[in-house]
């Protein structure tokens, strides 16, 4: 085990130093480099409203203009998988989505686009999640993602199982994108958070399910264009029968919030948070370790500079 840990650390630090500096990732590189006394790597907030928690957290990280530049074409990618109302927590909280869009525009974003490849009927899911209305009210463009025509093929050279997949054009054509999942129990992957939210930017999900779901989730996260921020909505959480949930009885309201540039770290934090609601060993959420193995981030959040806020 010691040797494995050593190799793992070596791999991670190696990855951190060898990260390519390209658009949208330069900030990412900086934060990974930072020691615990430097900039904040991860913000966790408890007890506020979804939009308020985001305001607090982003202020701690130096404001959204650290991540969004003047004139950027931004994509905000919530989870809109299901034809469910916000109370049922099947989708990201619309208030949170709305606040993120507002801040992007304040930071000078040229346009903000919102979409998700839904599981249920996309028209109903967009509508009943409250996200379409909230996003449009905030000035964002809400685009469809229900047909293959909206996707383009991209190769994933670092992927272990998944070497190629079709990604939604909004992601491929934007300058930067923000990943806004909701924390939920998941019957197959055990949890769905930031990494699994990328299954909403791809076209063919069956391939994921038929060729080692947990590995494919990590593989798709090796996409060159990584989200500049991962913002986890844990205001309401589907505790059982996820990711869809059957009724309100599946939903709890722990009022949590997590944000980081490190997709593995933020998911690890959210998973540990979920573990208080219902037992969930980290090794059951195998895509976390798979992501770490692919140098997508670290599960070792104790050594990160974490800012905890209670509201």
């Amino acid at each position: 085990m010691n040797r494995r840990n050593f190799l793992r650390t070596l791999a991670i630090s190696g990855a951190a130093f060898s990260l390519k500096l390209n658009s949208g990732m330069d900030v990412f590189a900086q934060t990974i480099d930072a020691s615990s006394s430097g900039p904040i790597n991860l913000v966790a907030v408890l007890g506020g409203e979804p939009d308020e928690m985001f305001k607090k957290a982003i202020a701690e990280m130096g404001g959204i203009s650290k991540f969004i530049k003047q004139g950027d074409k931004v994509v905000v990618k919530p989870n809109i998988g299901w034809d469910k109302t916000p109370e049922l927590a099947g989708n990201t909280n619309p208030k949170l989505v709305s606040e993120i869009i507002h801040q992007c525009f304040e930071a000078g974003a040229k346009e903000v686009t919102v979409f998700d490849h839904t599981c249920d009927d996309w028209v109903q899911a967009y509508k009943n999640s409250g996200i379409e209305a909230a996003a449009k009210a905030a000035g964002a463009k809400v685009v469809p993602a229900h047909e293959e025509i909206y996707y383009r093929s991209v190769s994933l050279p670092q992927g272990k199982r998944l070497k190629e997949t079709k990604i939604h054009q909004a992601i491929l054509d934007c300058d930067t994108w923000i990943n806004v999942p909701v924390l939920k129990h998941h019957g197959g992957a055990n949890l769905t958070i930031s990494m699994k939210n990328l299954m909403g930017i791809i076209w063919d999900r069956r391939i994921f399910h038929s060729s080692d779901l947990q590995q494919c989730i990590a593989d798709v996260c090796t996409l060159d264009k990584k989200p500049v921020l991962n913002i986890v909505d844990a205001y309401r959480v589907v505790k059982t029968n996820g990711p869809r949930g059957r009724s309100e009885a599946d939903v709890v309201q722990p009022k949590g919030f997590f944000m980081s540039q490190d997709i593995v770290a933020v998911d690890t934090a959210a998973a540990k948070f979920f573990n208080q609601i219902r037992e969930m060993p980290l090794d059951h959420v195998k895509h976390l370790a798979n992501g770490q193995d692919l140098n997508l981030g670290t599960m070792d959040i104790d050594n990160l500079n974490v800012k905890r806020i209670r509201m």
Binding site: D83, D121, V123, K141, V142, V143, G188, N190
Partner: protein, 506 residues
């Protein structure tokens, strides 16, 4: 004046019905549904006696107004005729033709006979509203969708997403061929011979034509004024004016009123019976009542008889793993669907998730082209009740959302041996993820893996599991149809105790 009114009413009905069929995005209001609910054969099969009574009354008062303006197939033929008039080299001339009584009454007889012995597909095939629906769905809808996709492409290249791309494909070759054949046959007849379909083939036309012989208002020829010049006969798209003998075959007149103004001697009039006739008709009430009653019994006997009869034909072909085809929610049973559906394809066209397609032999020969559920392109949305609420025939009974939740159209079958969790020992859970009732749910398996288990009692048969299952070519989970729809048990979850989390957990 009468002609203008007729054209206006026709355009309204035709436009409403056509757009209602084409509207895939649900933009049009739901109340437009009345335009299909008042179609003759649909009202008959739905036992919608109010509508039937009104249609029969209108016919007895004014003649074949239904054929003239309400029936979309009738108006379609007028439109074809209008084009033929404008594009033909020679000036379009109709001429009188003797009635094809043997043909039309035989077809009506055969239709009723086949219906009684449990083969309603023939009625569906030649009944005008349904034939029109299939024509729209198979011939015009793909064009409409392609147009939408072109607009969607143009608009989205300017960053506007008002229009969205939709999948254009032929859902059933058989139905497509039937739709095409209908379009070209009736189109050709209309192009060359006007309303010959209505007067030689259409069973509704035969029934209403018979009734309109006795209607109060009719187009009548003034015997003194008429000089048999045939101007009116040339205009008559029903070929029912015999100018030589100054007679009109009212059983074939579809009240287009094209003849009225054309007459230079003002010899044609749409009017009440000439004098005294009214009293004669009052005396004849007994006969009329007899006719009405017999018509009503003709309408009900076959359905009553069919209810006891099982289908003549045995299902010859089974689709993939399913033994029993799945009838849409609201159908009550495969049998009920078969006895009431005329395959107008409205439900198929309206299904937002492409879950319905016209059956080929899934229900057997009797159910040709009737809607059947399949899960290749999507699965039935738990909270959607569109199909059952648009059906004009009562073949799909209207459902509320609560009733839909309690309707089990089929039951889930898990083939655990094929499941990727078993064969590959990797996570999946796609089936349970899509299950609205958790009739499929994941339980701990080994090494942190979860495996699906099923509870058929609470399954509604929506096909979410079958649709998403990644195992190919045969899925590891599928829905077996219920011949008679069952009640799905509704699970009432106990509310979680309020959970207070006051730590981050790390």
């Amino acid at each position: 004046m009468l002609k203008k009114l007729r054209i206006a009413v026709s355009i309204i009905f035709f436009t409403f019905i056509t757009l209602y069929f084409l509207d895939f995005a649900g933009i049009l209001p739901e109340w437009l549904n009345w335009a299909v609910k008042i179609q003759f054969a649909s009202a008959l099969l739905a036992f919608n006696f109010g509508v039937l009574a009104v249609l029969i009354l209108i016919t007895l008062l004014f003649g074949r107004i239904y054929c003239s303006s309400i029936c979309p197939m009738g108006v379609f033929q007028d439109i074809v005729g209008w084009f033929s008039k404008r594009t033909g080299k020679k000036k379009k001339r109709y001429k009188y033709a003797p009635p094809k009584n043997i043909l039309r009454w035989s077809i009506l007889g055969v239709t009723i006979f086949l219906f009684i012995i449990g083969f309603p597909a023939f009625l569906g095939l030649i009944e005008p509203y349904s034939a029109f629906g299939r024509m729209i769905v198979n011939v015009f809808k793909p064009i409409y969708l392609a147009g939408n996709n072109l607009l969607s492409y143009l608009f989205s290249s300017f960053g506007n997403y008002i229009f969205y791309h939709v999948n254009v494909s032929i859902i059933s070759i058989f139905s497509f061929v039937i739709g095409m054949v209908t379009f070209f046959t009736i189109g050709f007849l209309a192009w060359r011979y006007g309303r010959s379909y209505c007067n030689a083939i259409c069973p509704v036309g035969t029934v209403l034509g018979f009734l309109s012989k006795f209607s109060l208002f009719k187009t009548r020829i003034n015997q003194e004024k008429c000089n048999s010049c045939r101007l009116c006969a040339i205009k008559c798209k029903a070929s029912c004016i015999d100018a030589a003998s100054k007679k009109i075959d009212h059983s074939r007149c579809v009240n287009c009123f094209n003849c009225l103004n054309i007459c230079t001697r003002d010899a044609l009039q749409y009017s009440l019976s000439v004098k005294k006739k009214i009293t004669v008709e009052e005396k004849n009430n007994g006969r009329r009542q007899f006719l009405l009653t017999s018509l009503a019994s003709i309408a009900t006997i076959p359905t009553a008889m069919a209810q006891e009869k099982t289908g003549l034909f045995v299902t010859p072909e089974k689709s993939s793993a399913r033994e029993t085809a799945i009838a849409p929610p609201g159908a009550l049973s495969v049998k009920h669907l078969q006895q009431h559906c005329t395959s107008c394809h409205l439900c198929i066209s309206k299904c937002p998730l492409n879950v319905l397609k016209p059956a080929f032999l899934e229900y057997g020969l009797e159910g040709l082209m009737q809607p059947v559920m399949y899960f290749k392109k999507g699965f039935c949305n738990y909270d959607c009740i569109i199909c059952s609420n648009v059906c004009p025939n009562g073949a799909l009974q209207p459902l509320t959302i609560e009733e839909k939740h309690a309707t089990q159209v089929g039951r889930v079958v898990l083939r655990w041996g094929r499941c990727v969790v078993r064969t590959d020992e990797t996570s999946c859970g796609a089936c349970a993820e899509h299950c609205p009732t958790q009739a499929v749910k994941m339980i701990p398996f080994r090494n942190g893996l979860t495996r699906p288990v099923v509870d058929t009692e609470i399954c509604v048969g929506c096909g979410g599991c079958e649709f998403i299952c990644p195992v190919r070519p045969h899925t590891a989970i599928f829905v077996e149809g219920n011949n008679i729809h069952q009640e799905a048990k509704i699970v009432i979850d106990e509310k979680n105790k309020d959970l207070i989390i006051d730590d981050f957990g790390f």
